[in-house]
């Protein structure tokens, strides 16, 4: 390879000192190989610049190149919903409905009726079961059939009431909801999922949680 081959690009970019540039220029008059290289370099540089220009224009015009954070949010949101649905699904079959709440066609067997008789009597002054605790849900008393209008009325009055003890707590990293860096490190969220008596999700509430802070506090 020609000794000037390594200086051709710098000569094209006018980066050589005056003496070296003059030497390269003289050499090019006598060396067709280097002249061909210079022409090739010019063409490649032009193509590269044109490619960058077209690319930038197209990206700016489309305005939607590489939205990785948005993809993360979508996937994580779907996972969070799937987790909540799975929790509801796993928990809902454990609900025991008082026989008196069932219509006649769905009345339990006589054995079930005996169990129902063994349950403690209904107390009309007890508040409606808006929140169902995982540990005590099976034993939780259901209102009698004649109490249903009162229950409905009470629930209607208490619209917007936030339960103090959620049925589920699902920890969601903050990065799953917000773009990385939007919140300080160590901040997460806990989703409180409240289950209605019929097993459906009644309310979902997000609470911020300092996960790193709690983790550090447990260290000696």
């Amino acid at each position: 390879m020609c000794e000037f081959a390594g200086k051709l690009m710098a000569w094209l970019d006018d980066e050589l000192p005056a003496g070296d540039a003059a030497a390269v220029k003289r050499h090019l008059e006598d060396c067709p190989e280097c002249r061909g290289r210079v022409e090739a370099y010019r063409e490649v540089c032009s193509a590269f610049d044109g490619y960058c220009d077209s690319y930038c224009e197209a990206v700016v015009a489309s305005g939607s190149h590489r939205r990785l954070p948005r993809r993360i949010i979508t996937v994580s949101g779907a996972l969070a919903v799937a987790a909540a649905a799975a929790a509801i699904f796993l928990f809902a079959p454990r609900t025991r409905v008082h026989p008196s709440l069932l219509p006649a066609a769905q009345a339990p067997s006589p054995a079930g009726a005996d169990v129902a008789k063994a349950l403690p009597p209904v107390h009309s002054a007890e508040p409606a079961a808006a929140v169902i605790k995982p540990d005590s849900r099976i034993e939780r008393r259901k209102p009698a059939q004649h109490e249903k209008p009162m229950l409905a009325q009470r629930q209607g009055e208490e619209t917007g009431w936030l339960p103090s003890e959620p049925a589920f707590e699902i920890a969601i990293p903050a990065d799953a909801i917000f773009p990385p860096g939007a919140l300080p490190e160590g901040v997460g969220f806990t989703a409180d999922v409240t289950i209605a008596p019929d097993g459906s999700a009644q309310q979902v509430r997000l609470r911020p949680q300092l996960t790193e802070f709690e983790r550090r506090s447990t260290r000696p």
Binding site: E15, L16, F48, Y55, C56, R66
Partner: protein
């Protein structure tokens, strides 16, 4: 290789004023935006980084910061911001300009579509073979920076930048059969 600086549109002695900062913005915004987009940032991200970089420039000049090498200064600020964003999003520099074929070809006229498609495909393949440093040097060079300024942005010596640019162009030339 010479270390001559590129003559700026505005004299460096007047850079401290807001008017001059505005003119610098007009001069460098497009090359800066193109560099960031070609690095792999989205259009919105690149525009955010450009805004932040010029805000930093305004603060820098307002606090009496050095006015020397202001072009490489602002490119370095933007380059570091882009790197931070990409590492934060767990993205890498390995992919810039790679998935651009469809975007670029959308702009091509039907008459030249086939020719442009083949040309861009070949160029894209060749660009993939470049190292990260080679690609960044070429992008900064395409942005109008001198080798000395590219070295200041990337933390390389001027001679290393010259060798890298030469090697990258030679690779592209060989792969594109030019």
């Amino acid at each position: 290789m010479s270390g001559d600086s590129v003559p700026l549109v505005l004299p460096l002695s007047r850079l401290a004023t807001d008017c001059e900062a505005t003119n610098l913005y007009r001069e460098l915004r497009k090359p800066l935006l193109r560099y960031l987009v070609c690095l792999g940032l989205s259009a919105d991200e690149a525009q955010d980084v450009v805004q932040d970089a010029f805000l930093s420039l305004h603060r820098h000049l307002g606090s009496g910061g050095s006015q020397a090498n202001i072009r490489s200064w602002i490119f370095r600020v933007a380059h570091n911001a882009a790197r931070n964003r990409q590492s934060r999003y767990e993205r890498r520099f390995a992919g810039p300009l790679e998935d651009s074929l469809g975007l670029v070809l959308d702009k091509a006229t039907p008459e030249h579509a086939v020719l442009e498609k083949e040309r861009f495909r070949t160029l894209r393949k060749a660009i993939r073979l470049l190292t990260e440093s080679e690609r960044e040097c070429l992008l900064l060079r395409a942005g109008g920076l001198r080798y000395r300024e590219i070295g200041e942005v990337l933390g390389l010596s001027t001679s290393t930048v010259g060798d890298t640019v030469e090697r990258a162009i030679r690779k592209l030339s060989e792969k594109c059969n030019v």
